[in-house]
Symmetry: C2
Subunit: 330 residues, 2 copies
């Protein structure tokens, strides 16, 4: 009897342990999320605008200039545009030649909303840069010429994600060593969204640094793994305004005004590329009209125009920065 | 007797061996040159102009633009000045951001007289560069910010000559990998003339690559070790024309015209720094007026002026390039 009881207890306790383990696994979602760190079901129902304390029909917009540090022309035009108060955010490319100029600006303007435009590509023909780390540590990041790969697809095809992680952590450290306190992270030319493994790196480094990462809901359709990897505490913006090569120079202002008019409620980011169309920028962008020198001058002209200010006002758009979004991830 | 004779012969033969060894050592100058590779007495009496096949009273001049590759403004102004035919030589800074633009020029103009301006310093405030090799290999070349040291004296005080040698050999290899076939070597900001050990590196790398190195007779007074290290097959130019910060903007043209008028016979080099005084160059040279943006525009204006052409003609000056001098060291 005693031994039967013992056996029965053993069976019961074994069953209990199995049940307990299963319960714990379910609760922690270890078994229910084979593809990611956070399952879809855990995404909070609350919209990002509501998490920020605004009514759900609010239209919030970050006006963000990419590529700071890449060239003097870009630094000069972007910091000039910051003076309008309408362009209110930007991100910095740490490996680029003009880093120290924008770092000096960041130190002199500690409230500026400046993030890091993590850089794993070097896209121009005559003006290029390599990574922060050396070939001994991140050999997969180097092309044959000893620079970063020119396109995001070549970069994604060759880069070892562990080396990408070491490099972007080194870029963050280097930025901080020059007094830049980044408010957010994004990825130059979108290289870190190109594969699941690279995006895991970006999101992990963002979380470790308690920094929001540029992720837009619209990316979920083209990059399905993004959705699986995003968790309830991450920031996912609702809309992006970004001009495309198909827009003619004459249609530039209309494109933006129209996009602002059609903007849905939620948190949106308008991504612009500002520079003066001068000798430096023309030659940086040698034989590369898309996102080139005239393109950037057109962007500068629009964001510093009355049309832009009027469009924001007429459509009841409220500006917000990554610094404010960052409070959600800390 | 026999044994005495043997002893005597032994003594004599020992004395003979000692004498022979001494004679050989003297003839090869091993004992008479404790400080250098070639003693002064071996310097050939023949002047450099005569080695080049010209009468000793000939005035030969290289008009040389430094700092190619450093900035687009410098590349653009210098290659424009090359079109006059009066500026007929230049040297390239391999670690700098605009290397690929001047490398493309070098490939398109294979007869251009382009050397390497070996670079161990990075002198500006907001626009800097590091070495070609990584910290793992040449840690003594890096300042605290991860760039090359800003001045030649700081660089010379910190640099391990072995690491300097590895770096400048890597700069030569990198230049060649982009299709630059250097005609000569010199040293940005003169860092490689600052100590005997660094100059030994420069002269050894020049000889190994069968390239002439910029050495001017006037340097012997300020850097005595140069004379000891220079050999009969090296090229030592006779005079240098190089403008100084004490010259006023108004006196610029007069300084050069006067220097050309007073030029002694022999092989001379006029070293200029050309750029357009534009937004890029003004900001490269931020808070650094000497050898700055306006300075370089003044140099550009002089070397492309009729005054310069007239002064060369009036003083019977014949232009020569480093390519021609290089034939003496091959």
């Amino acid at each position: 009897m005693l031994s039967m009881l013992e056996d029965s207890l053993k069976v019961k306790s074994r069953a209990l342990i199995i049940l307990l383990v299963a319960a714990v696994l379910c609760a922690s979602n270890v078994v229910s999320k084979p593809h990611g760190l956070y399952p879809q079901s855990q995404t909070p129902a609350k919209a990002l605008v509501e998490r920020l304390g605004y009514p759900p029909d609010t239209k919030l917009l970050i006006v963000h200039a990419d590529d700071l540090g890449m060239a003097h022309s870009i630094n000069a035009a972007t910091t000039k545009a910051f003076e309008t108060g309408l362009v209110n955010s930007g991100s910095i490319m740490v490996p680029c030649p003009w880093l120290l100029e924008i770092a000096a600006y960041a130190r002199a303007n500690p409230n500026a909303d400046l993030g890091l435009h993590l850089t794993l590509t070097s896209e121009w023909k005559l003006y290029r840069w390599g990574p922060v780390l050396s070939r001994d540590h991140v050999s997969s990041l180097f092309d044959n010429g000893g620079y970063l790969y020119p396109t995001e697809s070549e970069a994604a095809a060759h880069i070892n994600p562990k080396e990408a992680e070491a490099e972007i952590r080194a870029q963050i450290e280097r930025a901080k060593s020059f007094g830049i306190q980044p408010t957010h992270l994004d990825s130059h030319m979108g290289t870190l969204y190109q594969t699941k493994e690279l995006f895991e790196v970006l999101i992990r480094v963002g979380r470790d640094n308690k920094l929001p990462v540029r992720i837009a809901r619209e990316q979920f359709a083209t990059h399905p793994y993004l959705k699986d990897l995003v968790g309830p505490n991450d920031v996912v913006i609702d809309n992006v305004i970004s001009i495309e090569p198909s827009v003619t120079p004459e249609g530039w202002s209309n494109y933006y005004v129209d996009a602002i008019k059609k903007l849905s409620p939620g948190v949106s980011e308008m991504i612009v590329h500002l520079a003066y169309d001068n000798e430096e920028m023309k030659n940086v962008a040698f034989e590369h009209p898309n996102w080139g020198s005239e393109w950037r001058q057109r962007d500068f002209q629009f964001v510093t125009s009355d049309s832009f200010r009027d469009a924001l006002r007429a459509n009841n758009i409220k500006l917000i920065t990554w610094r404010e979004l960052g409070k959600l991830v800390r």
